[in-house]
Protein backbone atom coordinates (compact mmCIF):
# COMPACT_ATOMS: atom_id res chain seq x y z
CA UNK A 1 0.00 0.00 0.00
CA UNK A 2 2.85 2.33 0.92
CA UNK A 3 4.61 1.67 -2.39
CA UNK A 4 1.39 2.38 -4.30
CA UNK A 5 0.99 5.68 -2.44
CA UNK A 6 4.64 6.65 -3.12
CA UNK A 7 4.36 5.87 -6.84
CA UNK A 8 1.03 7.71 -7.01
CA UNK A 9 2.65 10.71 -5.31
CA UNK A 10 5.48 10.60 -7.87
CA UNK A 11 3.02 10.56 -10.78
CA UNK A 12 1.08 13.43 -9.25
CA UNK A 13 4.22 15.51 -8.72
CA UNK A 14 5.49 14.76 -12.23
CA UNK A 15 2.08 15.49 -13.82
CA UNK A 16 1.37 18.77 -12.10
CA UNK A 17 4.74 20.05 -13.29
CA UNK A 18 4.06 19.01 -16.84
CA UNK A 19 3.63 22.07 -19.00
CA UNK A 20 1.13 20.35 -21.27
CA UNK A 21 -1.12 19.55 -18.30
CA UNK A 22 -0.90 23.13 -17.08
CA UNK A 23 -1.70 24.38 -20.54
CA UNK A 24 -4.76 22.18 -20.86
CA UNK A 25 -6.23 23.22 -17.52
CA UNK A 26 -5.50 26.87 -18.32
CA UNK A 27 -7.15 26.44 -21.71
CA UNK A 28 -10.21 24.93 -20.05
CA UNK A 29 -10.50 27.83 -17.61
CA UNK A 30 -10.11 30.34 -20.43
CA UNK A 31 -12.85 28.53 -22.33
CA UNK A 32 -15.16 28.81 -19.33
CA UNK A 33 -14.34 32.48 -18.94
CA UNK A 34 -14.90 33.16 -22.64
CA UNK A 35 -18.32 31.49 -22.40
CA UNK A 36 -19.34 34.58 -20.40
CA UNK A 37 -18.68 36.74 -23.44
CA UNK A 38 -20.52 34.32 -25.70
CA UNK A 39 -23.49 34.35 -23.33
CA UNK A 40 -23.82 38.12 -23.82
CA UNK A 41 -24.74 37.48 -27.45
CA UNK A 42 -27.58 35.06 -26.75
CA UNK A 43 -30.64 36.57 -25.14
CA UNK A 44 -32.40 34.28 -22.67
CA UNK A 45 -29.98 31.37 -23.16
CA UNK A 46 -27.02 33.07 -21.51
CA UNK A 47 -26.64 31.01 -18.33
CA UNK A 48 -27.34 27.79 -20.19
CA UNK A 49 -24.52 28.55 -22.64
CA UNK A 50 -22.07 29.12 -19.80
CA UNK A 51 -23.07 25.86 -18.12
CA UNK A 52 -23.00 23.87 -21.36
CA UNK A 53 -19.60 25.16 -22.37
CA UNK A 54 -18.14 24.84 -18.88
CA UNK A 55 -19.21 21.24 -18.41
CA UNK A 56 -18.18 20.31 -21.96
CA UNK A 57 -14.76 21.93 -21.48
CA UNK A 58 -14.16 20.11 -18.19
CA UNK A 59 -15.18 16.81 -19.74
CA UNK A 60 -13.17 17.22 -22.94
CA UNK A 61 -9.98 18.47 -21.30
CA UNK A 62 -10.22 15.76 -18.65
CA UNK A 63 -10.67 13.16 -21.39
CA UNK A 64 -7.64 14.49 -23.23
CA UNK A 65 -5.46 14.36 -20.11
CA UNK A 66 -6.77 10.91 -19.11
CA UNK A 67 -6.07 9.40 -22.55
CA UNK A 68 -2.71 10.94 -23.37
CA UNK A 69 -1.24 11.03 -19.88
CA UNK A 70 -2.76 7.62 -19.05
CA UNK A 71 -1.11 5.96 -22.03
CA UNK A 72 2.16 7.75 -21.36
CA UNK A 73 2.27 6.47 -17.80
CA UNK A 74 3.31 2.98 -18.85
CA UNK A 75 4.62 3.40 -22.39
CA UNK A 76 6.89 6.35 -21.59
CA UNK A 77 8.30 4.52 -18.58
CA UNK A 78 9.07 1.47 -20.72
CA UNK A 79 10.32 3.35 -23.80
CA UNK A 80 12.55 5.70 -21.81
CA UNK A 81 13.56 2.83 -19.52
CA UNK A 82 12.91 4.80 -16.34
CA UNK A 83 10.96 1.75 -15.23
CA UNK A 84 14.20 -0.24 -14.88
CA UNK A 85 15.31 1.69 -11.82
CA UNK A 86 11.83 1.68 -10.33
CA UNK A 87 11.22 -2.05 -10.65
CA UNK A 88 14.63 -2.86 -9.18
CA UNK A 89 13.31 -1.39 -5.94
CA UNK A 90 11.01 -3.41 -3.64
CA UNK A 91 8.04 -2.72 -5.87
CA UNK A 92 5.89 -5.31 -7.62
CA UNK A 93 4.46 -4.76 -11.07
CA UNK A 94 0.99 -4.77 -9.50
CA UNK A 95 2.00 -1.89 -7.23
CA UNK A 96 3.53 -0.11 -10.22
CA UNK A 97 0.30 -0.28 -12.27
CA UNK A 98 -1.93 0.68 -9.33
CA UNK A 99 0.39 3.49 -8.23
CA UNK A 100 0.45 4.93 -11.75
CA UNK A 101 -3.33 4.67 -11.99
CA UNK A 102 -4.12 6.30 -8.68
CA UNK A 103 -1.49 9.00 -9.26
CA UNK A 104 -3.12 10.09 -12.50
CA UNK A 105 -6.62 9.80 -11.02
CA UNK A 106 -5.51 12.09 -8.19
CA UNK A 107 -4.12 14.56 -10.74
CA UNK A 108 -7.31 14.43 -12.79
CA UNK A 109 -9.56 14.93 -9.77
CA UNK A 110 -7.52 17.92 -8.61
CA UNK A 111 -7.57 19.37 -12.13
CA UNK A 112 -11.33 18.81 -12.21
CA UNK A 113 -11.70 20.54 -8.84
CA UNK A 114 -9.81 23.55 -10.18
CA UNK A 115 -12.09 23.61 -13.20
CA UNK A 116 -15.18 23.37 -10.93
CA UNK A 117 -13.97 26.39 -8.95
CA UNK A 118 -13.32 28.35 -12.14
CA UNK A 119 -16.73 27.33 -13.47
CA UNK A 120 -18.58 28.47 -10.36
CA UNK A 121 -16.52 31.67 -10.25
CA UNK A 122 -17.72 32.55 -13.78
CA UNK A 123 -21.30 31.70 -12.82
CA UNK A 124 -21.08 33.74 -9.62
CA UNK A 125 -19.90 36.76 -11.57
CA UNK A 126 -22.72 36.24 -14.05
CA UNK A 127 -25.26 35.89 -11.23
CA UNK A 128 -24.07 39.11 -9.63
CA UNK A 129 -24.16 41.09 -12.85
CA UNK A 130 -27.56 39.86 -14.06
CA UNK A 131 -30.78 41.73 -13.31
CA UNK A 132 -33.41 39.92 -11.23
CA UNK A 133 -35.93 40.16 -14.05
CA UNK A 134 -33.64 38.31 -16.42
CA UNK A 135 -32.96 35.63 -13.82
CA UNK A 136 -36.66 34.75 -13.77
CA UNK A 137 -36.32 33.28 -17.27
CA UNK A 138 -33.61 30.81 -16.20
CA UNK A 139 -34.55 27.12 -16.05
CA UNK A 140 -32.25 26.63 -13.06
CA UNK A 141 -30.32 29.03 -10.82
CA UNK A 142 -26.87 29.99 -12.00
CA UNK A 143 -25.14 28.54 -8.95
CA UNK A 144 -27.20 25.35 -9.02
CA UNK A 145 -25.40 22.82 -6.77
CA UNK A 146 -26.85 19.97 -8.84
CA UNK A 147 -24.15 20.67 -11.40
CA UNK A 148 -21.72 19.10 -8.95
CA UNK A 149 -23.44 15.81 -9.75
CA UNK A 150 -22.45 16.22 -13.39
CA UNK A 151 -18.86 17.01 -12.36
CA UNK A 152 -18.80 13.99 -10.04
CA UNK A 153 -19.89 11.70 -12.88
CA UNK A 154 -17.33 13.31 -15.21
CA UNK A 155 -14.78 12.33 -12.55
CA UNK A 156 -16.01 8.72 -12.58
CA UNK A 157 -15.86 8.66 -16.36
CA UNK A 158 -12.30 9.98 -16.33
CA UNK A 159 -11.35 7.25 -13.85
CA UNK A 160 -12.72 4.71 -16.31
CA UNK A 161 -10.93 6.28 -19.28
CA UNK A 162 -7.65 6.31 -17.35
CA UNK A 163 -8.03 2.61 -16.53
CA UNK A 164 -8.82 1.89 -20.20
CA UNK A 165 -5.77 3.84 -21.38
CA UNK A 166 -3.49 2.03 -18.94
CA UNK A 167 -4.97 -1.34 -19.91
CA UNK A 168 -4.28 -0.84 -23.62
CA UNK A 169 -0.85 0.66 -23.03
CA UNK A 170 0.33 -2.50 -21.23
CA UNK A 171 0.37 -4.46 -24.49
CA UNK A 172 0.07 -2.16 -27.51
CA UNK A 173 1.82 0.81 -29.07
CA UNK A 174 0.95 4.36 -27.94
CA UNK A 175 -0.82 5.12 -31.23
CA UNK A 176 -3.00 2.00 -31.07
CA UNK A 177 -3.68 2.60 -27.38
CA UNK A 178 -4.95 6.13 -28.10
CA UNK A 179 -7.13 4.85 -30.95
CA UNK A 180 -8.58 1.99 -28.90
CA UNK A 181 -9.23 4.15 -25.84
CA UNK A 182 -11.10 6.72 -27.91
CA UNK A 183 -12.99 3.86 -29.59
CA UNK A 184 -14.12 2.59 -26.17
CA UNK A 185 -15.16 6.14 -25.20
CA UNK A 186 -17.20 6.58 -28.37
CA UNK A 187 -18.79 3.12 -28.23
CA UNK A 188 -19.56 3.67 -24.53
CA UNK A 189 -21.45 6.84 -25.36
CA UNK A 190 -23.36 5.41 -28.32
CA UNK A 191 -24.22 2.03 -26.85
CA UNK A 192 -27.98 2.44 -27.37
CA UNK A 193 -27.42 3.19 -31.06
CA UNK A 194 -25.29 0.06 -31.41
CA UNK A 195 -27.97 -2.03 -29.73
CA UNK A 196 -30.61 -0.82 -32.13
CA UNK A 197 -28.46 -0.96 -35.24
CA UNK A 198 -30.55 -3.81 -36.71
CA UNK A 199 -33.35 -1.30 -37.26
CA UNK A 200 -31.33 0.58 -39.86
CA UNK A 201 -28.84 -1.98 -41.21
CA UNK A 202 -29.79 -4.87 -43.50
CA UNK A 203 -27.38 -7.47 -42.21
CA UNK A 204 -27.74 -10.79 -40.44
CA UNK A 205 -24.42 -10.87 -38.63
CA UNK A 206 -23.69 -7.22 -37.84
CA UNK A 207 -26.52 -6.68 -35.33
CA UNK A 208 -25.26 -9.67 -33.31
CA UNK A 209 -21.75 -8.22 -33.23
CA UNK A 210 -22.91 -4.75 -32.25
CA UNK A 211 -25.25 -6.18 -29.59
CA UNK A 212 -22.36 -8.21 -28.17
CA UNK A 213 -20.25 -5.03 -28.06
CA UNK A 214 -23.14 -3.21 -26.37
CA UNK A 215 -23.34 -5.80 -23.60
CA UNK A 216 -19.56 -5.95 -23.08
CA UNK A 217 -18.89 -2.21 -23.12
CA UNK A 218 -19.85 0.08 -20.28
CA UNK A 219 -22.77 2.44 -20.77
CA UNK A 220 -20.96 5.76 -20.45
CA UNK A 221 -24.05 7.70 -21.48
CA UNK A 222 -25.45 6.85 -18.02
CA UNK A 223 -22.64 8.98 -16.60
CA UNK A 224 -23.54 11.91 -18.82
CA UNK A 225 -26.06 14.09 -16.96
CA UNK A 226 -24.73 17.37 -18.27
CA UNK A 227 -27.84 18.15 -20.30
CA UNK A 228 -30.17 17.29 -17.39
CA UNK A 229 -28.44 19.52 -14.85
CA UNK A 230 -28.17 22.43 -17.29
CA UNK A 231 -31.93 22.29 -17.77
CA UNK A 232 -32.54 21.93 -14.05
CA UNK A 233 -33.93 18.40 -14.40
CA UNK A 234 -33.58 16.02 -11.44
CA UNK A 235 -30.77 13.44 -11.38
CA UNK A 236 -31.60 10.65 -8.97
CA UNK A 237 -29.04 9.44 -6.46
CA UNK A 238 -29.92 5.83 -7.31
CA UNK A 239 -29.09 6.23 -10.98
CA UNK A 240 -25.82 7.91 -10.04
CA UNK A 241 -24.88 5.08 -7.66
CA UNK A 242 -25.79 2.42 -10.22
CA UNK A 243 -23.84 4.12 -13.01
CA UNK A 244 -20.84 4.66 -10.72
CA UNK A 245 -21.00 1.11 -9.35
CA UNK A 246 -21.06 -0.47 -12.79
CA UNK A 247 -18.19 1.77 -13.88
CA UNK A 248 -16.14 0.78 -10.85
CA UNK A 249 -16.59 -2.89 -11.77
CA UNK A 250 -15.26 -2.11 -15.26
CA UNK A 251 -12.36 -0.15 -13.78
CA UNK A 252 -11.44 -3.04 -11.48
CA UNK A 253 -11.64 -5.49 -14.38
CA UNK A 254 -9.45 -3.31 -16.59
CA UNK A 255 -6.86 -2.86 -13.85
CA UNK A 256 -6.74 -6.59 -13.11
CA UNK A 257 -6.30 -7.21 -16.85
CA UNK A 258 -3.57 -4.58 -17.05
CA UNK A 259 -1.76 -6.10 -14.07
CA UNK A 260 -1.98 -9.66 -15.44
CA UNK A 261 -0.63 -8.60 -18.85
CA UNK A 262 2.05 -6.28 -17.50
CA UNK A 263 3.27 -8.81 -14.94
CA UNK A 264 4.10 -11.28 -17.71
CA UNK A 265 5.67 -8.80 -20.07
CA UNK A 266 9.38 -8.67 -20.89
CA UNK A 267 10.60 -5.09 -20.51
CA UNK A 268 13.14 -5.12 -23.36
Amino acid sequence: MRSIAIIAGGVFRDSIRDRIGYGLVFFSIMLMASSYLLAQLTAGQDVKIIKDLGLAAASAIGLFIAVFFGIGLVTKEVERKSIYSLLSKPVTRTQFVLGKYFGLVLTLLINLSVMVLAFYAVLLYFEMTTLDGAKAAWEAPALDPRMLKAFALIGVELMFITATAIFFSTFSSPFLSVAMTFAVYIVGHFGEDLKNLNAIVQSVVLPYITKAIYYVMPNLSALDVKSAVVHGLPVSGTSMVLATGSCLVYIATLLVGAILIFSRRDLK
Binding site: R17, S85, V91, D266
Partner: protein, 320 residues
Protein backbone atom coordinates in the same frame (compact mmCIF):
# COMPACT_ATOMS: atom_id res chain seq x y z
CA UNK B 1 26.17 -18.59 0.56
CA UNK B 2 27.08 -16.79 -2.65
CA UNK B 3 25.83 -13.29 -3.36
CA UNK B 4 24.75 -14.17 -6.90
CA UNK B 5 24.24 -17.50 -8.62
CA UNK B 6 22.87 -18.31 -12.03
CA UNK B 7 22.18 -21.82 -13.21
CA UNK B 8 21.66 -22.50 -16.89
CA UNK B 9 20.19 -19.03 -17.39
CA UNK B 10 18.94 -18.80 -20.96
CA UNK B 11 17.01 -16.17 -22.85
CA UNK B 12 15.65 -16.48 -26.36
CA UNK B 13 13.85 -13.73 -28.24
CA UNK B 14 11.63 -14.17 -31.25
CA UNK B 15 13.10 -12.22 -34.15
CA UNK B 16 11.36 -11.56 -37.45
CA UNK B 17 7.79 -10.65 -38.29
CA UNK B 18 6.61 -13.16 -40.88
CA UNK B 19 8.74 -16.11 -39.82
CA UNK B 20 9.84 -15.48 -36.24
CA UNK B 21 12.99 -17.32 -35.25
CA UNK B 22 14.36 -17.71 -31.75
CA UNK B 23 17.43 -15.57 -31.23
CA UNK B 24 19.72 -16.71 -28.42
CA UNK B 25 20.45 -13.61 -26.35
CA UNK B 26 21.88 -15.65 -23.49
CA UNK B 27 22.77 -19.30 -23.55
CA UNK B 28 23.02 -21.48 -20.47
CA UNK B 29 24.85 -19.04 -18.23
CA UNK B 30 26.01 -20.61 -14.98
CA UNK B 31 28.18 -18.62 -12.61
CA UNK B 32 28.46 -17.60 -9.01
CA UNK B 33 29.77 -14.48 -7.34
CA UNK B 34 30.95 -14.63 -3.74
CA UNK B 35 29.95 -12.03 -1.18
CA UNK B 36 32.28 -9.06 -1.06
CA UNK B 37 33.66 -9.62 -4.56
CA UNK B 38 34.00 -6.97 -7.22
CA UNK B 39 32.99 -9.01 -10.23
CA UNK B 40 33.52 -7.77 -13.76
CA UNK B 41 31.09 -8.95 -16.39
CA UNK B 42 32.85 -8.33 -19.67
CA UNK B 43 31.95 -8.73 -23.27
CA UNK B 44 31.68 -6.87 -26.55
CA UNK B 45 28.54 -5.00 -27.52
CA UNK B 46 25.63 -7.37 -27.93
CA UNK B 47 27.27 -10.16 -25.94
CA UNK B 48 24.33 -10.51 -23.55
CA UNK B 49 25.58 -8.51 -20.55
CA UNK B 50 22.53 -6.25 -20.27
CA UNK B 51 20.24 -9.21 -20.92
CA UNK B 52 21.83 -10.99 -17.95
CA UNK B 53 21.37 -7.95 -15.72
CA UNK B 54 17.75 -7.58 -16.80
CA UNK B 55 17.17 -11.23 -15.99
CA UNK B 56 18.71 -10.73 -12.56
CA UNK B 57 16.43 -7.72 -11.99
CA UNK B 58 13.49 -9.70 -13.44
CA UNK B 59 12.79 -7.01 -15.96
CA UNK B 60 12.67 -9.89 -18.42
CA UNK B 61 11.92 -13.54 -17.73
CA UNK B 62 14.26 -16.42 -18.58
CA UNK B 63 13.42 -18.97 -21.25
CA UNK B 64 15.02 -21.53 -18.94
CA UNK B 65 17.32 -21.71 -15.95
CA UNK B 66 17.13 -19.71 -12.77
CA UNK B 67 19.05 -17.18 -10.74
CA UNK B 68 19.37 -16.29 -7.08
CA UNK B 69 20.56 -13.20 -5.27
CA UNK B 70 21.63 -13.57 -1.64
CA UNK B 71 20.04 -17.02 -1.58
CA UNK B 72 16.61 -15.87 -2.75
CA UNK B 73 15.07 -16.24 -6.21
CA UNK B 74 15.37 -13.05 -8.24
CA UNK B 75 11.59 -12.67 -8.26
CA UNK B 76 11.51 -12.26 -4.49
CA UNK B 77 10.59 -8.63 -3.81
CA UNK B 78 12.12 -8.81 -0.32
CA UNK B 79 15.60 -9.37 -1.75
CA UNK B 80 15.35 -6.11 -3.66
CA UNK B 81 15.55 -4.29 -0.36
CA UNK B 82 19.15 -5.50 -0.22
CA UNK B 83 20.30 -4.73 -3.73
CA UNK B 84 20.95 -1.71 -5.93
CA UNK B 85 20.86 -1.45 -9.72
CA UNK B 86 22.16 1.06 -12.21
CA UNK B 87 20.66 0.41 -15.65
CA UNK B 88 22.59 1.10 -18.84
CA UNK B 89 22.03 4.71 -19.99
CA UNK B 90 19.62 5.46 -17.15
CA UNK B 91 16.72 7.83 -17.60
CA UNK B 92 14.57 9.38 -14.92
CA UNK B 93 11.58 11.65 -14.59
CA UNK B 94 12.19 14.97 -16.34
CA UNK B 95 10.10 17.06 -13.97
CA UNK B 96 11.69 15.88 -10.72
CA UNK B 97 14.90 17.27 -9.27
CA UNK B 98 17.81 14.95 -8.48
CA UNK B 99 17.12 15.37 -4.79
CA UNK B 100 13.40 14.61 -5.17
CA UNK B 101 14.17 11.54 -7.25
CA UNK B 102 16.46 10.09 -4.59
CA UNK B 103 13.98 10.86 -1.80
CA UNK B 104 11.27 9.21 -3.92
CA UNK B 105 13.37 6.05 -4.22
CA UNK B 106 14.49 6.17 -0.58
CA UNK B 107 10.89 6.17 0.58
CA UNK B 108 10.34 2.91 -1.29
CA UNK B 109 12.80 1.36 1.15
CA UNK B 110 10.80 2.60 4.12
CA UNK B 111 12.83 5.75 4.79
CA UNK B 112 11.05 8.79 6.15
CA UNK B 113 11.19 11.93 3.99
CA UNK B 114 13.79 13.42 6.38
CA UNK B 115 15.99 10.31 6.29
CA UNK B 116 15.58 10.17 2.52
CA UNK B 117 16.76 13.77 2.19
CA UNK B 118 19.80 13.05 4.36
CA UNK B 119 20.75 9.99 2.30
CA UNK B 120 20.11 11.85 -0.95
CA UNK B 121 22.28 14.74 0.15
CA UNK B 122 25.17 12.48 1.16
CA UNK B 123 25.04 10.40 -2.00
CA UNK B 124 24.76 13.39 -4.30
CA UNK B 125 27.86 14.79 -2.59
CA UNK B 126 29.61 11.47 -3.19
CA UNK B 127 28.83 11.43 -6.91
CA UNK B 128 29.75 15.07 -7.37
CA UNK B 129 26.31 16.64 -7.91
CA UNK B 130 26.42 20.03 -6.23
CA UNK B 131 23.88 22.83 -6.42
CA UNK B 132 22.44 21.20 -9.55
CA UNK B 133 20.61 18.78 -7.27
CA UNK B 134 17.72 21.25 -7.14
CA UNK B 135 17.44 21.46 -10.93
CA UNK B 136 14.88 19.39 -12.75
CA UNK B 137 16.50 16.36 -14.38
CA UNK B 138 15.52 17.56 -17.86
CA UNK B 139 18.41 20.05 -17.52
CA UNK B 140 21.02 17.42 -16.70
CA UNK B 141 23.74 16.27 -19.08
CA UNK B 142 24.24 12.56 -19.81
CA UNK B 143 27.15 12.35 -17.39
CA UNK B 144 25.17 14.04 -14.63
CA UNK B 145 22.23 11.67 -15.15
CA UNK B 146 24.72 8.79 -14.92
CA UNK B 147 25.95 10.14 -11.58
CA UNK B 148 22.37 10.41 -10.32
CA UNK B 149 21.84 6.85 -11.55
CA UNK B 150 24.76 5.64 -9.47
CA UNK B 151 23.45 7.53 -6.43
CA UNK B 152 19.97 5.98 -6.74
CA UNK B 153 21.53 2.51 -6.95
CA UNK B 154 23.11 3.10 -3.54
CA UNK B 155 20.18 4.81 -1.81
CA UNK B 156 19.35 1.76 0.31
CA UNK B 157 22.96 1.00 1.31
CA UNK B 158 22.75 -2.28 -0.61
CA UNK B 159 24.61 -5.51 0.05
CA UNK B 160 24.86 -6.26 -3.67
CA UNK B 161 25.11 -3.62 -6.40
CA UNK B 162 24.57 -4.27 -10.09
CA UNK B 163 26.09 -1.62 -12.32
CA UNK B 164 25.49 -1.79 -16.06
CA UNK B 165 28.26 0.14 -17.81
CA UNK B 166 28.80 2.48 -14.84
CA UNK B 167 31.51 4.53 -16.58
CA UNK B 168 29.37 5.29 -19.62
CA UNK B 169 29.07 9.01 -20.33
CA UNK B 170 31.47 10.02 -17.56
CA UNK B 171 34.46 12.31 -18.00
CA UNK B 172 37.90 11.12 -16.78
CA UNK B 173 37.35 12.69 -13.36
CA UNK B 174 33.95 11.05 -13.07
CA UNK B 175 35.42 7.68 -14.03
CA UNK B 176 38.05 7.99 -11.36
CA UNK B 177 35.43 8.96 -8.77
CA UNK B 178 33.27 5.98 -9.68
CA UNK B 179 36.26 3.66 -9.51
CA UNK B 180 37.03 4.98 -6.04
CA UNK B 181 33.41 4.58 -5.05
CA UNK B 182 33.40 0.94 -6.17
CA UNK B 183 36.51 0.30 -4.10
CA UNK B 184 34.86 1.96 -1.07
CA UNK B 185 31.82 -0.29 -1.57
CA UNK B 186 34.12 -3.31 -1.67
CA UNK B 187 35.85 -2.16 1.51
CA UNK B 188 32.57 -2.06 3.38
CA UNK B 189 31.77 -5.61 2.24
CA UNK B 190 29.38 -4.81 -0.58
CA UNK B 191 29.34 -7.16 -3.57
CA UNK B 192 29.71 -5.28 -6.84
CA UNK B 193 28.68 -6.88 -10.13
CA UNK B 194 29.45 -4.57 -12.99
CA UNK B 195 29.25 -5.01 -16.71
CA UNK B 196 31.63 -3.23 -19.00
CA UNK B 197 33.56 -3.50 -22.19
CA UNK B 198 36.25 -1.19 -20.83
CA UNK B 199 38.92 -3.67 -19.80
CA UNK B 200 41.10 -1.21 -17.90
CA UNK B 201 38.24 -0.69 -15.42
CA UNK B 202 37.98 -4.42 -14.86
CA UNK B 203 41.74 -4.77 -14.42
CA UNK B 204 41.77 -1.93 -11.89
CA UNK B 205 38.80 -3.08 -9.85
CA UNK B 206 37.87 -6.71 -10.18
CA UNK B 207 38.82 -9.68 -8.13
CA UNK B 208 37.23 -11.93 -10.74
CA UNK B 209 35.84 -11.47 -14.20
CA UNK B 210 33.64 -13.36 -16.63
CA UNK B 211 33.85 -12.88 -20.37
CA UNK B 212 30.64 -13.26 -22.30
CA UNK B 213 30.73 -13.66 -26.06
CA UNK B 214 27.72 -14.08 -28.31
CA UNK B 215 25.49 -15.00 -25.41
CA UNK B 216 27.80 -17.64 -23.98
CA UNK B 217 30.17 -17.65 -21.07
CA UNK B 218 33.60 -17.79 -22.71
CA UNK B 219 35.81 -17.55 -19.63
CA UNK B 220 35.57 -16.93 -15.91
CA UNK B 221 38.16 -16.60 -13.18
CA UNK B 222 40.52 -14.26 -11.42
CA UNK B 223 42.69 -12.00 -13.53
CA UNK B 224 45.70 -14.17 -12.68
CA UNK B 225 43.93 -17.33 -13.73
CA UNK B 226 42.67 -15.89 -16.97
CA UNK B 227 45.93 -14.30 -18.01
CA UNK B 228 47.79 -17.47 -17.06
CA UNK B 229 45.50 -19.45 -19.31
CA UNK B 230 46.54 -17.13 -22.07
CA UNK B 231 50.23 -17.49 -21.21
CA UNK B 232 52.39 -16.59 -24.17
CA UNK B 233 55.41 -18.69 -23.10
CA UNK B 234 58.44 -17.90 -21.01
CA UNK B 235 61.08 -15.25 -20.66
CA UNK B 236 64.47 -16.73 -19.83
CA UNK B 237 67.37 -14.43 -18.94
CA UNK B 238 70.80 -16.01 -19.19
CA UNK B 239 74.37 -14.79 -18.88
CA UNK B 240 77.61 -16.14 -20.26
CA UNK B 241 75.85 -17.41 -23.33
CA UNK B 242 78.26 -18.12 -26.18
CA UNK B 243 77.28 -17.38 -29.77
CA UNK B 244 77.67 -20.95 -31.03
CA UNK B 245 75.47 -22.29 -28.21
CA UNK B 246 72.77 -19.74 -29.02
CA UNK B 247 72.94 -20.65 -32.73
CA UNK B 248 72.63 -24.35 -31.94
CA UNK B 249 69.41 -23.88 -29.96
CA UNK B 250 67.95 -20.99 -31.95
CA UNK B 251 65.14 -23.08 -33.43
CA UNK B 252 63.71 -23.61 -29.92
CA UNK B 253 63.64 -19.90 -29.14
CA UNK B 254 61.02 -17.40 -30.33
CA UNK B 255 63.22 -14.35 -29.90
CA UNK B 256 66.63 -13.55 -28.45
CA UNK B 257 67.39 -10.04 -27.25
CA UNK B 258 70.97 -9.17 -26.28
CA UNK B 259 71.16 -7.28 -22.98
CA UNK B 260 74.95 -6.64 -23.07
CA UNK B 261 77.85 -8.40 -21.33
CA UNK B 262 76.88 -11.72 -22.97
CA UNK B 263 73.48 -11.54 -21.24
CA UNK B 264 70.43 -12.44 -23.31
CA UNK B 265 66.71 -12.35 -22.85
CA UNK B 266 65.27 -15.39 -24.57
CA UNK B 267 61.57 -15.73 -25.33
CA UNK B 268 60.43 -19.35 -25.37
CA UNK B 269 57.20 -20.62 -26.92
CA UNK B 270 54.45 -21.96 -24.59
CA UNK B 271 54.25 -25.24 -26.48
CA UNK B 272 57.48 -26.68 -25.04
CA UNK B 273 58.59 -26.68 -21.44
CA UNK B 274 61.74 -24.66 -20.68
CA UNK B 275 63.42 -27.38 -18.59
CA UNK B 276 65.26 -29.20 -21.40
CA UNK B 277 66.49 -25.97 -23.01
CA UNK B 278 67.74 -24.71 -19.64
CA UNK B 279 69.64 -27.95 -19.13
CA UNK B 280 71.19 -27.68 -22.60
CA UNK B 281 72.16 -24.03 -22.13
CA UNK B 282 73.70 -24.74 -18.73
CA UNK B 283 75.61 -27.62 -20.28
CA UNK B 284 76.84 -25.11 -22.91
CA UNK B 285 78.26 -22.88 -20.14
CA UNK B 286 75.42 -20.40 -19.66
CA UNK B 287 74.11 -19.26 -16.30
CA UNK B 288 70.42 -18.90 -15.60
CA UNK B 289 69.54 -15.43 -14.26
CA UNK B 290 65.74 -15.67 -14.23
CA UNK B 291 62.78 -17.51 -15.69
CA UNK B 292 59.31 -15.91 -15.81
CA UNK B 293 56.07 -16.81 -17.55
CA UNK B 294 55.09 -14.36 -20.28
CA UNK B 295 51.50 -13.49 -19.38
CA UNK B 296 48.89 -12.10 -21.72
CA UNK B 297 46.90 -9.04 -20.74
CA UNK B 298 43.20 -9.16 -20.06
CA UNK B 299 42.80 -7.61 -23.48
CA UNK B 300 44.62 -10.55 -25.08
CA UNK B 301 42.34 -12.99 -23.28
CA UNK B 302 39.26 -10.96 -24.15
CA UNK B 303 40.09 -10.73 -27.85
CA UNK B 304 40.99 -14.41 -28.05
CA UNK B 305 37.81 -15.57 -26.29
CA UNK B 306 35.56 -13.30 -28.30
CA UNK B 307 37.13 -14.47 -31.58
CA UNK B 308 36.82 -18.14 -30.66
CA UNK B 309 33.16 -17.91 -29.64
CA UNK B 310 31.25 -17.74 -32.88
CA UNK B 311 28.12 -19.87 -32.57
CA UNK B 312 25.02 -19.23 -34.63
CA UNK B 313 22.76 -17.26 -32.31
CA UNK B 314 19.65 -18.25 -34.21
CA UNK B 315 18.68 -21.39 -32.40
CA UNK B 316 16.80 -24.15 -34.18
CA UNK B 317 14.93 -25.03 -31.00
CA UNK B 318 13.67 -23.02 -28.11
CA UNK B 319 14.45 -24.20 -24.63
CA UNK B 320 11.34 -25.06 -22.67
Amino acid sequence: MDAITTDGLTKHYQVGFWRPRPYVALDNLSLSVAKGEVFGFLGPNGAGKTTTLKLLMQLIYPTSGHAEILGSPVGDVAVRRRIGYLPENPYFYDNLTAEELLVYFARMFGCSAKEGRERASRLLDDVGIGAERRFQLRRFSKGMVQRVGIAQALINEPEVVFLDEPMSGLDPLGRREVREMILRLRDRGCTVFFSSHVLSDAEALCSRVAILAKGRLAAIGSLDELTAVGSRGWELVVSGLKGDVLTRHYARITRATPLGDSRFSLELPPSTGPEQLIADLVAGGAHIVSLNPLRGTLEDVFVEQVRVAAPDRFSTKVAS
